[in-house]
């Protein structure tokens, strides 16, 4: 029946649809392609007022460096400006946030899915309210106590804060995944004499991985993409990639140094690119999980 519909579409409608999709793909993809290409040029080419094709062929780049491509921006960002340190900090933060969030989230999400009591519903509503809180309002509550107790500036502080901010979302998502695992599974294990925790450990844990992987991806994205928490709670030495890029902007507006920021931006986007490449299916299913199941 679907092919029937396809055949009966009028040519005008077809053109409109193809045009729309094409415009969208260009709008979504071209900026990234352009910046990736431009990051190997000098500033005079990437920001070329005279002729945008300069950036394509690298006219100024050839004059200034002798080749059509240059890695100067990358060298400047990673070595001169120590972007590698920020990348290292980001990996520490992101891995810790994902592991801790998922550990707490699976336990909590499982309990919420199996409880069936009214207070479980209230907790989910509370989590929804927490999810809506703008992160910066929470940060303005942390800063003063953290300064007072000397907790400010360290990676573990940012990690635990991000775990907490991440919890409402993680709970909702894992809760809806656990609802899809049949109750009989763990209940029959308990009839056989398992305690609730043993049933969880031996029966549920082996089958929960698809949901955990999907939720983990979103925890990863939240921690990786965060600017509010990392920019306000970390000291200069512990900065992660995103605040580091933001600090490039303030300080380096002189010739050549904007390209450091461009190179850093491309470097920070690359892992996300790979992530979508491998986990596209999980990301799509994760985005829709909350919606379709209510």
């Amino acid at each position: 029946m679907m092919s029937d519909i396809v055949h009966r579409r009028s040519p005008v409608l077809n053109i409109i649809i193809w045009g729309l999709v094409l415009v969208w793909i260009v709008a979504a993809g071209f900026p990234f392609l352009w910046t990736l290409w431009g990051s190997f040029k000098v500033q005079g080419d990437f920001f070329s007022k005279a002729d945008w094709t300069n950036a394509v062929y690298g006219v100024r780049t050839q004059i200034e460096t002798g080749g059509a491509f240059t890695g100067k921006g990358y060298y400047g960002a990673w070595v001169t400006k120590e972007f590698w340190l920020a990348a290292l900090n980001t990996s520490i933060v992101v891995v810790s946030v994902v592991i801790i969030s998922l550990t707490l989230g699976t336990l909590g999400g499982y309990a919420l899915a199996r409880s069936g009591k009214k207070y479980a519903f209230y907790l989910l509503m509370l989590a929804l309210v927490f999810r809506a809180m703008p992160h910066i309002t929470l940060v303005s509550g942390y800063l003063l106590p953290f300064f007072e107790w000397n907790l400010w500036g360290h990676l573990p502080t940012a990690i635990i804060v991000m775990v907490a901010i991440n919890q409402p979302f993680t709970l909702w998502m894992l809760h809806s995944f656990f609802l899809n695992i049949p109750k009989d599974l763990d209940e029959s294990a308990m009839v056989d004499g398992c305690t609730r925790f043993q049933a969880f450990r031996h029966v549920i844990v082996p089958v929960m991985w698809p949901g955990v992987v999907t939720t983990g991806l979103f925890s990863f994205l939240l921690a990786y993409n965060d600017f509010t928490v990392t920019a306000t709670l970390l000291s200069q030495a512990n900065q992660t990639m995103v605040p580091k890029i933001a600090s490039f902007l303030g300080t380096t507006q002189t010739e050549g140094n904007v390209m450091f920021a461009v190179a850093a931006v491309v470097s920070a986007t690359a892992p996300l690119f790979v992530l979508i490449l491998f986990f596209q299916r999980q990301i799509v299913s994760g985005l829709t999980a909350g919606a379709v199941k209510g």
């Binding site: 979504a28 900026p31 910046t35 336990l107 909590g108 703008p134 309002t137 509550g141 995103v242 985005l287």
Partner: protein, 343 residues
């Protein structure tokens, strides 16, 4: 599940949420009714070539000591809420009295920092959210008709604007619309105006920020709607066709009602996320033309040499109240659904 077991399972998660979400909200409220200490003044005798004078000077040591003893500052009641940088009751009252009408009053009110930020935040939220839903729906309809082979790559590219870090995504666009960037320079050539700058005009900056917002969030609506389209009941569709419904009528009376719950879900998420708009303003350095509530809190915390915790706290409390007002309809609805399920 037994109450005891439930308690132990949920405990770690609950502790982090209470410590780092609920408690900060309390802390913000407490901060908002305090204000920084005034500098301690001492009278010193200042002797120069023309004789001695009594002068007032800041006692740095005493001030630091006072700050250390009571870091919260001094109690200020609701003073911070009503001052010029927040609700500005006095200024609003004066502006209202001196205005001939609403049209005259609005620009005066929008000069005040809090109302300026509120105006942009609300405009952004209520312009971007519907546009995201409309564009997302159109893209989903379009992609749904594509041949299977190119659907995968299309979805891959579509995900990029959403997955990429907001600060980075907005920077990438910002560089393109720079006066020397590819889009900015091209626009100058099209309009034949070498001084055309998207950054200089407040209106264009607002539009730019909203374009970024739609670009960033449309993929989310697209993916959710696309998944919804896969589950449109084939029977109903066929029945509508047999009854002679046109393509438009099928979309209007079968597809749209089927996607309605998804639209509610997307609006809820988008309202929450757009209300906290923040990163694009930093990336676009747009603070001269557009500020948001989140941005003014951030500015109080890191934009100056010393931090204004009282001011940031007051804006935060007002923001939280705003979020709650946005959420109330959703909460009431969910509540009703839940109670109906119980009956």
């Amino acid at each position: 599940m037994k109450n005891r077991t439930f308690f132990w399972f949920i405990l770690p998660s609950l502790i982090t949420m209470l410590l780092f979400i609920a408690l900060p909200i309390v802390s913000v409220a407490v901060q908002s009714v305090h204000i920084e200490h005034e500098a301690v003044m001492v009278e010193v005798e200042n002797c120069g070539p023309f004789g001695c004078k009594q002068e007032l000077q800041v006692d740095v040591e005493e001030t630091a000591k006072l700050k250390e003893e009571r870091p919260l500052g001094q109690f200020n009641g609701l003073g911070t809420y009503t001052n010029r940088n927040h609700l500005a009751f006095t200024e609003i009252g004066l502006a209202w009295q001196s205005s001939t009408g609403f049209v005259d009053f609005m620009p005066k009110a929008l000069n005040l920092p809090f109302y300026r930020a509120l105006a942009f935040t609300l405009t952004y939220t209520f312009v971007v959210t519907p546009l995201v839903i409309i564009f997302g729906f159109m893209i989903a309809l379009g992609v749904n008709t594509l041949p299977k082979r190119i659907k995968g790559p299309t979805i891959f590219i579509s995900l990029l604007p959403m997955i990429v870090t907001p600060l980075i995504g907005s920077l990438i666009l910002f560089w393109m619309i720079d006066a020397n960037g590819i889009l900015g320079a091209t626009l100058q050539r099209i309009f034949d105006d070498p001084n055309l700058s998207l950054k200089a005009s407040p209106t264009l900056t607002w539009i730019m920020l909203m374009v970024y917002g739609v670009w960033h969030s449309a993929p989310f609506a697209f993916i959710v709607f696309y998944a919804g389209l896969q589950t449109v009941p084939a029977d109903t569709m066929e029945a509508a066709m047999i009854d002679g419904a046109s393509r438009w009528e099928r979309t209007r009376y079968v597809v749209l009602p089927h996607l309605m719950p998804l639209t509610v879900f997307i609006s809820l998420i988008q309202l929450m996320d757009n209300f906290r708009v923040f990163e694009p303003i930093v990336s676009f350095s747009a603070q001269a033309s557009a500020t948001s509530l989140s941005w003014i809190i951030y500015n109080d915390l890191v934009g100056n040499e010393s931090q204004f915790f009282g001011s940031a706290g007051a804006t935060s409390v007002l923001t939280i109240i705003g979020v709650s007002i946005l959420l109330i309809p959703v909460l009431i609805r969910t509540w009703r659904d839940f109670n109906q399920k119980l009956v």
